[in-house]
């Protein structure tokens, strides 16, 4: 019986871990296009046609509609329309490498909308049977500095090329020649940040399930057409590329990057795992934070439930209950009065039962103070699966370890610690890693307002401001 309980506990903890780290629903997809938001829902298209829809960015299910079949689509919103690119190919081992990249428009991505109607697809690039290019795997990019639209395409079979498109029609700009910008990548796409153009591509073995070595790399250039050079100075046309994300512990084969900018300083990337061991080794949609480290994009970690110090970036103090500090009764051992030969004693940390009796009943204010690893400073974050999620994450309750005392937002845009969890939106927190590796902590009840240090020792809620350390926190696992 004891063993059975242990097994159930293990299974439950595995389930919590699983649900905290991967998109829920039926997120089965290969080569997911960049996530698009349309009328409050999220969409991504995949190889073979169709795609996924999500109401909240966390639970994904089949339902998106993309005609044309073919491989590796991408999407971009221009004005009030969506341009979708995909490729028709007979390529691969069984055939040649003749490919066609096509684009088409739609006013909406919602297949139930009366406005849902794709325009006729038009070819914008192609490759011949045995050319040093495989015209598939389209990646759409609008240069924010010029408003010019580009599409990169190509695979491991030769060069990656880019074609300039007319952003009004989605057609190739007449008279332009598609330059070669990289070699031996798949699923390329471009992004722009701080004066740099980044070309991301997937290297490694595709489509081999759990043995796929797919990984996403990047090079950068000051010019939209390259040369795109990695951190070692290697041109991507010579195979260069700095790692953005590769395999994880239980998921392998990261491929087909798409950037999703949620807010200033909050960026996420969509891609697929070729195989998720927790999900029948299927190819699944993945969403991770994008970090920017020394001017390079790096894949962030999925946030994990656990017990943490929540440390303010403003001062480095720790979020805590505003209760009397209880001293530990361990004799002070000043070095000048200590017998150097006396045996060493290992003392325990202060325990919850040592102090909880001194805490008031009911609501207790939250405060920020010197980290001392005391019970009033240790916060356990637990996923609340029934609360839904957001792009790339689920909601958490944040409680003092071993208690039901729960961090809560208040109606007047402040924070407090409620005596018990009540399941309200004010007690559900969204944990998102910012591009600098810190975290923002936002209650479900007041989107846009985040946990903030309004003074070194005073937490409250304020509008998210990526440029202020007041809004940022670090989670230090305990």
């Amino acid at each position: 019986m004891k063993r059975a309980i242990k097994l159930i506990t293990l299974a439950a903890s595995a389930l919590v871990s699983f649900s905290a780290m991967a998109q829920e629903g039926k997120p089965w997809i290969h080569d997911p296009s960049t996530i698009m938001e349309c009328d409050g829902k999220y969409y991504t298209f995949g190889t073979g046609g169709g795609g996924l829809i999500s109401e909240d960015g966390w639970n994904w299910n089949p339902g998106a509609v993309r005609p044309g079949g073919g491989a590796a689509p991408d999407a971009i919103k221009i004005g009030d329309r969506y341009l979708v690119a995909y490729s028709a190919t007979g390529g691969g081992l069984g055939g040649g490498h003749a490919g066609r990249v096509l684009t088409m428009w739609n006013k909406t991505l919602d297949p139930n909308s009366p406005d849902f109607k794709y325009t006729e697809a038009i070819e914008v690039a192609h490759s011949e049977m045995d050319e040093d290019c495989d015209a598939i795997d389209a990646g759409l990019f609008m240069d924010p500095t010029t408003g010019r639209l580009y599409c990169t395409y190509g695979t491991y079979f030769g060069f990656i090329r880019m074609v300039e498109l007319d952003p009004r029609t989605g057609a190739k700009v007449e008279g332009t020649v598609d330059p070669n910008i990289a070699i031996d990548c798949e699923a390329t796409t471009m992004i722009y940040r701080d004066g740099w153009y980044y070309l991301l591509g997937t290297h490694g073995t595709c489509c081999d399930g759990v043995n796929s070595t797919y990984n996403i790399v990047v090079g950068r250039s000051r010019n939209v057409t390259g040369p795109f050079v990695d951190n070692m100075g290697r041109d991507m046309i010579a195979g260069g590329g700095k790692m953005v994300i590769d395999g994880d512990d239980r998921q392998f084969g990261a491929g087909h990057f798409g950037r999703y900018i949620e807010d200033e300083g909050i960026e996420k990337m969509s891609f697929h795992w070729e195989a998720d061991l927790d999900r029948s080794a299927r190819s699944v949609l993945a969403i991770r934070p994008i970090l920017w480290v020394n001017g390079w994009p790096v894949g962030g970690e999925a946030f994990k439930a656990g017990t943490y110090e929540i440390s303010s970036v403003r001062r480095g103090y720790a979020l805590e209950l505003a209760v009397d500090f209880v001293r530990q009764n361990i004799e002070r051992r000043g070095g000048w009065r200590m017998d150097p030969n006396e045996p060493i004693v290992v003392h325990p940390n202060q325990k919850l039962e040592d102090v909880i009796g001194t805490w008031p009943e009911g609501e207790i204010p939250a405060r920020i103070g010197d980290w001392m690893n005391r019970p009033h400073q240790r916060w356990t974050l637990t996923v609340v699966p029934e609360a839904g999620g957001y792009v790339g994450g689920q909601y958490y309750k944040i409680q003092i370890e071993g208690t039901d005392k729960t961090l809560a937002a208040t109606e007047d845009l402040d924070v407090t610690v409620a005596p018990a969890y009540d399941g309200s939106d004010a007690q559900l927190w969204r944990i998102e890693q910012a591009v600098d590796g810190t975290y923002r902590i936002m209650p479900k009840s007041t989107p846009g307002y985040v946990l903030t240090s309004v003074a070194d020792s005073t937490p409250s809620l304020a509008k998210w401001d990526f440029n202020s350390d007041n809004c940022k926190w670090n989670f230090i696992a305990k």
Binding site: D414, A455, D456, T458
Partner: protein
């Protein structure tokens, strides 16, 4: 005629004497002249109202001479201690804003002088204390610094050094409602602050003076006059505080006057 002359001389003499007495009284109440050690830190307030300084700090305060409260360490200043010792109703009910020179009589805990002839007392040996009736004076001062140096105030006025509770009062005139501001305080050591008698914030523990260490909840400073009161407690070491209002973005609030 002779009588008239004598009368005029007498009136002149009385006027001169009155003037001399007023000057003497004024001189007597000029704390800075009496205690030159205060001069680097404080000045005598002018009659005209002033505004907060460039960073929004309030430099004009009426300070009570230190209330003796011996503590060998600042680590005892937990929240409940602060409430018990600083929030005893002194600034509520029929509290009147003290004027310069006002006096208050109270019983205080007083530490007897430590006998050092046999060397420094052993650590952990608590010095003896006794209750003592004292008369303390309020002094109106402008701080020359953004932070009000309580230690220098106590030492400079020869009224204390360590182990004390300081009380501070200031009055502000707000010309129009100012919404969504916070009272932001730093203090050495722990402190408690009120606006119009309502608790604004507590800074507990062994505090260092850090600008914007703690802040009140959002509040609206309504048009009109408001009284800000604070109490700072310190065991050994330096003692000071700094107070300002900050807006939603943490920027200083300036648009109000601090009256004498």
């Amino acid at each position: 005629m002779k009588h008239l002359f004598r009368t005029l001389v007498l009136v002149a003499a009385l006027a001169a004497a009155a003037s001399f007495t007023a000057d003497a009284k004024k001189k007597k109440t000029d704390l800075i002249e009496k205690y030159p050690a205060l001069a680097p830190y404080f000045s005598t307030p002018a009659e005209a109202a002033v505004q907060p300084d460039e960073l929004g700090f309030i430099r004009r305060w009426v300070l009570l001479e230190p209330i003796s409260k011996p503590n060998r360490t600042n680590t005892v200043f937990v929240d409940s201690y602060i409430r018990e010792n600083l929030d005893n109703g002194w600034n509520k009910g029929d509290f009147k804003v003290p004027a310069d020179g006002d006096k208050v009589t109270m019983q205080v805990e007083y530490q007897k002088p430590v006998d050092m002839t046999a060397g420094r007392p052993m650590w952990g040996v608590e010095p003896e204390t006794e209750m003592k009736k004292v008369k303390l004076t309020w002094h109106a001062l402008d701080s020359k610094l953004f932070n009000v140096k309580l230690y220098r105030y106590a030492v400079g006025t020869e009224t204390g050094r360590y182990g004390a509770i300081f009380r501070a009062v200031t009055v502000i005139d707000v010309p129009e409602d100012i919404e969504n501001v916070r009272l932001a305080v730093g203090s050495n050591s722990a402190s408690m602050w009120w606006i119009d008698g309502e608790e604004a914030l507590i800074l507990s523990g062994d505090r260092r003076m850090v600008m914007d260490d703690g802040a009140s909840k959002r509040l609206t400073l309504k048009k009109g006059r408001h009284v800000i009161t604070g109490a700072v407690i310190n065991g050994p070491g330096m003692s000071d505080f700094c107070v300002r209002f900050i807006d939603e973005n943490g920027n200083p609030v300036h648009n109000y006057n601090i009256v004498k």
